[in-house]
Symmetry: C2
Subunit: 242 residues, 2 copies
DNA sequence: TTAGATTTGTGCGTATGTATG
DNA sequence: ACATACATACGCACAAATCTA
């Protein structure tokens, strides 16, 4: 078994030492069949249960472990890329930093038909309500946002102010009664189309960040959103540490 | 002040109830000038400090709060971009999905001198130990990784196997005794140089994702890493809710 | 510069609740 | 019904970082 001595006076917190030992064992594949229970770890490493739980909490937040009440703690199948695995990225931009007011300009809204999109989203109907907005400060734009809403009543959006920077979800909630419960985001890089470059005020040779979002309400897709961002004006940032 | 009664028998954990109350107050801007200290919240809501800390921990993980030892807890200025604020992005690629073995090829290691980099990192010396690796499966590469280590003994890396996919930090730890405690990542988009495109096996007109990492050991920079990724082969993905 | 107060971080102990098998 | 597992909640003490008098 493991049995590595933790050093209380090393300046490194006990839970961090324990997490490091466990992380190494996980990466070697030592716990693939079974991860020790909390009481077992308490006994093995001679620390309190709070310390064990703190270490496990950290490894969960890093994506190494997941826990199920009543069942146990399990190793998550490893991603290939070291420690870029599960940091919390947030969008940070000059607008937020400088405190400039953010504005959203409505470019277009209305029904569109897109068979390819419907197919990739596994939807039976190719009808979408499209909301296209340009976001930025008064001086410059940093994002072009296209939200595709399947199966909604276009009239729901007639009286809604879409120029506010606020969330589309509150609009969805108040306009249609739909509550978004889960979703996914995917970040990639791409080249802008001529129109995108023009709207964002960049050259066609400048690359952009693309975020694709799927939002669900009770396992049902309620929004597909593609946001095109200017990397010089806004970027994703994660801070991590103990 | 606040005073909302929490209900112990409601089925909802006390910390979650407290977090919800605090979140609402935060969004109204009630705590913009000062967020209550832990003992104050204990007194206000008549719960234990662990419960208070659990609620604050959650709000920190959601990006609403940040805490500094000795200073206090503070409301994070809301990012301009709705709800992309605190998702957990992890790198997902074809390699991990298909279960192919990941390999790392050492391209170069040795001392380099870069005054611009030293200046941007606010370092007095422009001497770096550079480790350049190409990562991918046997069939194709998906990332070019350049790690700049200031002030390390080059001999530390003589006997180390850098072709393993494993973390550089364990190398740092064993080779130099340095323990990485904190850091930040920033994701952007860029065009590859001729050499990068060639090494990654892509066209020069294909955009790439760029991740810049800063790693610290006790407030001291110990690594600056720039990773260039091929978006078609690997991307950042976050799932939320549920 | 120093000393003390304040605030979050770490770590211990205990007890009880809830989900699972 | 029972044992096992993690989740919640309480209390206490001291350490480390920060601010202030």
């Amino acid at each position: 078994m493991i049995h590595r001595q933790l050093d209380a006076g090393s300046g490194i917190p006990l839970w961090a030492q324990l997490a490091e030992v466990l992380r190494e064992e996980i990466e070697v594949g030592h716990f693939d069949e079974r991860f020790p229970s909390e009481p077992e770890l308490v006994e093995l490493f001679k620390v309190s249960r709070s310390t064990v739980r703190e270490a496990i909490r950290y490894l969960r937040s890093e994506g190494y472990l997941e826990a199920r009440q009543g069942k146990g703690t399990f190793v998550v199948a490893s991603e290939s890329f070291d420690s870029l695995r599960s940091h919390r990225f947030s969008l940070a931009g000059r607008i937020a930093e400088s405190g400039l007011e953010e504005v959203a300009r409505l470019l277009w809204k209305g029904l569109v038909y897109d068979a390819d999109l419907a197919k990739s989203l596994e939807l039976s109907s190719d009808e979408f309500f499209l909301i296209e907005r340009l976001r930025g400060s008064r001086q410059e734009s940093f994002a072009l946002e296209r939200a595709y809403l399947p199966r909604v009543n276009p009239a729901s959006f007639d009286c809604v102010d879409l120029t506010k920077a606020g969330s589309l979800y509150s609009v969805l909630q108040s306009g249609t009664g739909i509550t978004v419960t889960a979703g996914s985001d995917e970040v990639s890089a791409a080249m802008p189309s001529e129109r995108e470059a023009s709207l964002l005020g960049i050259a066609e040779k400048d690359p952009v960040l693309v975020v694709e979002r799927r939002a669900y309400s009770r396992h049902e897709l309620v929004e597909f959103r593609r946001t095109t961002l200017v990397p010089a004006r806004v970027r994703f940032r994660a801070e991590w540490g103990r």
